[in-house]
């Protein structure tokens, strides 16, 4: 089972980005997704820079994939998309159907988590167009994954989002700019002030969502380290860990240890204590509300009671 670093979803300074990927060279990850997937106004790190980082990671033995924007609105964004697809060296993660069209038959691509692949007929089309891997949408459950794995087309790897605040929605509107009463056209890149997003609480203080520019994330951090054995059993080839600003080295190591069997799932959960930015959640995996956190024991009990 491979570990992947998902695309960096936040707007960090150029120095922080370079430092992060310099460290990642030595982490036990197999695949690294690079590039801006959220907002085209974030130009601190340009395509040339991403390609340079990609070369360094490749030299360190990593498989590199260039991620594309999830929400495409402007013509300039299509131009960037074409440049990424035409990079000539690296595979591409298509996060929008426009990217699929541009990549089809030209470059191997990963069908990203925002493409809405909910069934095998959809995966069959992506495979025919040149996809080599697909990333399951975050809202799908273990049961659906099992059903898809039973009918997925040959030659297509499965990747599951296993760690990080989950991308839940995209908008034409920038919620970070809106929080500061700034128009989007003059957003002053305020999302750069929040290295893991800006938390939105309920009126009774419950952390609920996290605003990351035009993207809305979960405030809770998805953590599937406890179910790594189940993911293996379902023939999932890749686990995606979405970067957060701190402790990423320890998080990667904990997942690697559970995959290799040097830590039990319970020990993995314990090792992650205090490392996640938000409260942990794993509800989607069990077909529940995404924000829920079910303890391993609790789950088997619930399944026994429901006859599942």
């Amino acid at each position: 089972m491979k570990l992947a670093l998902g695309p960096l979803l936040y707007f960090w300074s150029r120095d922080d980005v370079l430092a992060f990927y310099r460290q990642a060279r030595d982490w036990p990850v197999d695949v690294v997704y690079l590039g801006e997937a959220v907002c085209s106004k974030r130009r601190g790190v340009r395509l040339e820079d991403w390609l340079a980082i990609a070369d360094e990671l490749t030299a360190a033995g990593k498989e590199v994939v260039l991620s594309t924007l999830a929400l495409i609105e402007a013509e300039s964004e299509l131009l960037t998309l074409r440049r990424i697809v035409d990079n000539g060296r690296f595979a591409v993660e298509a996060n929008d159907m426009g990217a699929v069209r541009l990549a089809a038959g030209k470059v191997p691509f990963v069908a990203g988590p925002h493409l809405n692949a909910y069934n095998c007929e959809t995966l069959g089309l992506f495979r025919d167009l040149g996809a080599t891997r697909w990333v399951m949408p975050v809202e799908l459950s273990r049961d659906t994954l099992a059903a898809i794995q039973a009918c997925r087309p040959a030659g297509l790897e499965t990747e599951v989002f296993a760690f990080g605040r989950m991308p839940l929605a995209f908008s034409a509107r920038c919620f970070t700019a809106r929080h500061y009463n700034l128009p989007k056209d003059d957003c002053q890149l305020r999302c750069g002030d929040f290295s893991d997003g800006l938390v939105l609480n309920s009126q009774e203080g419950e952390q609920f969502l996290s605003m990351n520019g035009i993207q809305t994330q979960s405030a809770a951090t998805c953590n599937l380290i406890g179910v790594v054995p189940e993911l293996k059993e379902l023939d999932v080839e890749v686990l995606r860990l979405s970067p957060q600003s701190r402790h990423m080295d320890k998080i990667v190591s904990a997942f690697r240890a559970v995959i290799d069997g040097t830590l039990t799932p319970q020990q993995g959960i314990a090792a992650m204590q205090g490392l996640t930015r938000g409260e942990p959640c794993n509800g989607y995996w069990y077909g529940s509300a995404g924000l829920a956190w079910l303890e391993l024991g609790e789950v088997s009990e619930a399944r026994a009671l429901s006859g599942g």
Partner: protein, 335 residues
């Protein structure tokens, strides 16, 4: 003069369908009574008998019937969705409105004569995306997500020969449609998986000393002071606390209305404008259809002198979410 713009109105029930047809809709759209469409609400939608009756009623008056199958089937339920495609073909609807690529592939293969529209839930925001659907499945029309400015809509139209449909009036999704999991994050059910956003069974109202609480899946999404008007609790239109400030951090309760820019839409060559609201009453459908029929006729007749009549605006605001309206993303400033 461009060809006539089609007015597409919601039919959540037979009475709503008749209201739409009687008040001037060129086409109505409806769904079956299950999770195959994005308005899967109790008591709503059409069984086979009602669908036949609705199609007959519309056809006799020269109107079209579109059928929305715009949720995303998972393997466990695949046969229900393909069964719905087959049923729609047999009923002879004028077009299917689809979101899922797999289902499009099935429909295109199995019923090549059936006209296909790409649902707003298909989330195609660029001409590159649209042209993929067109090449693969011969999609005839695309309903654009409510994230593009007028200039961006124009750019899309310049680069595809697919017909373009835009939303004209109704509740406004602030997130790009088809790629929003906020509802399932709080409740386990989303528009994509279950055809419901903020489903009623997950809603709890409670009177407290602080006011009227509304929770969704247990999360407090708003708190209304005594006397304050409360609408249907949609997660993205709740009041939250961010950095100490409590307000509508995502979006105010408001409706989209394109009354102000109808002549521009007509001139651009938009093929159809759509009214949201299959979950709303026949009275709502009648009112909104009537106003938009008059407004669209006026905009097509004399686009240069058109201006929205105040009684139209008042009639629409009366049935609008939050009793107010916006141009949404079509107006760059809103973004």
């Amino acid at each position: 003069m461009s060809r006539k713009v089609e007015l597409v109105c919601p039919a959540g029930s037979l009475p709503a369908l008749r209201a739409a047809v009687d008040n001037g809709a060129d086409a109505v759209y409806m769904g079956f009574r299950d999770g195959t469409n994005a308005r899967n609400f109790p008591g709503l939608n059409f069984d086979e008998r009602a669908a036949r009756e609705g199609i007959r009623y519309a056809r006799e008056r020269g109107r079209k019937v579109l059928l929305a199958l715009n949720t995303y089937p998972q393997p466990q339920g695949w046969n229900i969705w393909t069964g719905a495609v087959d049923k729609a073909a047999e009923l002879g609807v004028d077009a299917l409105i689809l979101a899922d690529i797999g289902l499009m592939r099935y429909a295109h293969k199995t019923h090549p004569q059936l006209r296909l529209h790409l649902s707003v839930q298909g989330s195609a925001t660029s001409h590159e995306a649209i042209n993929l659907y067109r090449e693969q499945f011969n999609i005839q029309r695309v309903v654009l997500p409510r994230v593009l400015s007028m200039a961006q809509v124009k750019r899309v139209m310049d680069n595809t020969d697919a017909e373009i449909e835009v939303f004209a009036f109704g509740s406004l999704c602030v997130m790009v449609e088809g790629r929003c999991y906020l509802s399932s994050y709080a409740t386990g059910e989303s528009p994509n998986t279950c055809g419901a956003c903020s489903p009623a069974k997950a809603v709890e109202w409670r009177e407290t000393s602080k006011g009227r609480e509304v929770r969704l899946g247990g999360v407090l999404i708003d708190l209304y002071k005594p006397g304050e008007a409360a609408g249907y609790p949609v997660l993205c239109k709740g009041r939250y606390e961010v950095n100490g400030a409590v307000n509508y951090a995502i979006e105010e309760p408001t409706s989209l209305s394109v009354l102000d820019i109808l002549p521009e839409l007509v001139r651009m060559g938009i093929s159809a404008i759509k009214v949201e609201g299959r979950q709303r009453s026949p009275a709502y459908v009648a009112q909104v259809t009537k106003v938009l029929r008059e407004a669209l006729d006026a905009a097509e007749r004399s686009p240069d002198t058109y201006s929205p009549r105040s009684d139209w605006v008042a009639a629409l605001d009366k049935v609008a979410e939050g009793s107010t309206h916006t141009l949404g993303a079509l107006d760059r400033a809103w973004q």
